[in-house]
């Protein structure tokens, strides 16, 4: 599938904060007067979106961490959703 350029660097959107919450055993995304509890795969992807790593590096890291391959389409699909929801911004 097509998607964002592999050299682009996703980052948590301005005004949002991602953190691990032990009480919820989940990554949560915090924003003005609101909060989203992320499922495991969303948390795994978003916690790697630091504005430094490229999409290619994020995919490689996930595939290495989860001992699998072929995650590129899943990551691209999630990035599209997260950008649409304004959770992430894609930097060149």
């Amino acid at each position: 599938m097509t998607g964002y350029p592999l050299a682009a660097r996703p980052a948590i959107a301005h005004g949002m904060r991602l953190q691990w919450e032990p009480a919820q055993e989940a990554h949560v995304l915090l924003y003005p007067e609101g909060m989203v509890k992320l499922n495991g795969s969303a948390g795994a992807i978003m916690s790697r979106c630091d504005g430094v790593r490229t999409i290619a590096e994020i995919v490689a890291d996930l595939e290495h961490s989860y001992q699998t391959s072929g995650l590129s389409d899943d990551v691209q699909a999630f990035l599209a959703i997260a950008v649409d929801k304004k959770w992430l911004e894609i930097r060149a």
């Binding site: 005004g15 904060r17 919450e21 009480a23 919820q24 915090l30 003005p32 007067e33 609101g34 909060m35």
Partner: protein, 382 residues
């Protein structure tokens, strides 16, 4: 007391600290209790710091700092710094009065995440009248400061009969100020707003006009501004899922340390509310009678008890049930299945007549030095 076991209790994800009831404004729609003069002394800095640490350990993560006017506390920066160190996402809910360039810089450095600025109206005359002070120019300056410190610009405007016809001007003002989010919150009738309800409830025609103006404005500005229009529940036929159910997500602490499952719960009879000075946050959240009283559905009466929607709206708002029917365990009278729903439709009918006749009556302005007892509409418990 309840036959059914209580549902599993999750963490108090939302913590609201009402740091003080002091406020330079005198808004007629304030939800604060009308009995503040009879409440206790404000907590010390050390007590608030302990509340923050204990609540964070329980899993609280969204923090609201409110009041009164939270900037009236000169230890606000200290509290924000500790909350930030603990990992809270910190929202300051303010009228902006007292937010000087020095203080906003210090709050930013301490880790404040977000500021919600309230406005009373778009025209200086009405703004100053409704808040009973000259604040409009100051708020415009504060809005500029908020933008300059790279905070999202979030405006909250409380709507009611006296200003709802200005909603177009209010939205234009918000646009001029660079607002990204605007909450047009119709007054909810608790505290001072309850006292002034007969003067504040709008007519249905006013409401519909305001909604259509808001919709046209949304179409014009598109994604630049996100506008929330909160309809007053008196015009609905099903109640709001107040607090997602009491004791589920939300824990509020009043200036004197009283802990409450909703910020208006102080008015509820027989609550025996705990205080953070004498109980731990853990004991308050998990063990206190006040926080357990309205958990689950064992407390419900008919028509809620057998209602298929009871897990959708949790019977509505306990405070509204009390104010309108005299018993907080009754169905919220906003629901047209409630035997007390006629009280809501009667209030709306009186509003229609008053607007049609251009009737005016004296408003009671918020004053933290006085104490006015809560008067319930529907008589005693049923």
């Amino acid at each position: 007391m309840n036959a059914q076991p209580l549902p599993q209790i999750g963490p108090p994800l939302w913590l609201l600290l009402e740091l003080t009831y002091r406020c330079p404004l005198h808004c007629v729609f304030c939800y604060n209790p009308t009995e503040f003069a009879s409440t206790g002394a404000e907590l010390s800095t050390e007590a608030w710091l302990r509340v923050l640490r204990e609540a964070r350990a329980l899993g609280a993560v969204q923090l609201g700092l409110s009041g009164g006017e939270p900037l009236a506390r000169d230890d606000l920066e200290t509290l924000v710094a500790e909350a930030h160190r603990l990992g809270f996402y910190i929202n300051l809910i303010t009228s902006g009065i007292g937010l000087t360039p020095e203080r906003i810089a210090a709050l930013k450095a301490a880790g404040l995440d977000h500021i919600q600025l309230s406005f009373q109206d778009s025209t200086r005359e009405l703004n100053d009248f409704l808040s009973s002070t000259r604040t409009f120019d100051l708020k415009a300056k504060v809005a500029a400061l908020i933008r300059a410190h790279d905070y999202p610009m979030v405006l909250n405007v409380v709507l009611h009969r006296q200003n709802i016809d200005h909603v177009g001007e209010i939205l234009e003002m918000a646009e001029r100020l660079g607002a990204q989010y605007v909450e047009l919150a119709n007054t909810q009738y608790y505290g001072w707003a309850w006292l002034n309800r007969e003067q504040l409830l709008p007519s249905r025609a006013q409401l519909q006009r305001a909604e259509s103006i808001t919709q046209r404005f949304r179409e014009r500005v598109g994604n630049r501004m996100k506008i929330y229009f909160v309809v007053p529940d008196y015009f609905e036929t099903r109640p709001k899922p107040c607090m997602s159910g009491l004791g589920k997500l939300f824990l509020a602490v009043a200036p004197d340390g009283t802990a409450m499952p909703c910020h208006a719960a102080r008015m509820l009879p027989g609550m025996n509310l705990p205080n953070v000075e004498s109980d731990s946050m853990r004991a308050i959240w998990y063990d206190s009678d006040a926080f357990n009283r309205f958990r689950g559905d064992g407390w419900m009466k008919e028509p809620c008890r057998s209602c298929p929607e009871k897990h959708k709206d949790f019977g509505g708002c306990r405070c509204q049930a009390f104010l309108l029917s005299g018993d907080p365990a009754n169905a919220d009278p906003v629901c047209d299945l409630s035997p007390h729903h006629g009280l809501v439709t009667a209030a709306v009918a009186r509003a229609e007549r008053a607007v049609a006749q251009g009737a005016t009556a004296a408003l009671k302005f918020r004053d933290h030095r006085v104490s006015i007892p809560v008067v319930v509409e529907g008589g005693g418990p049923r």
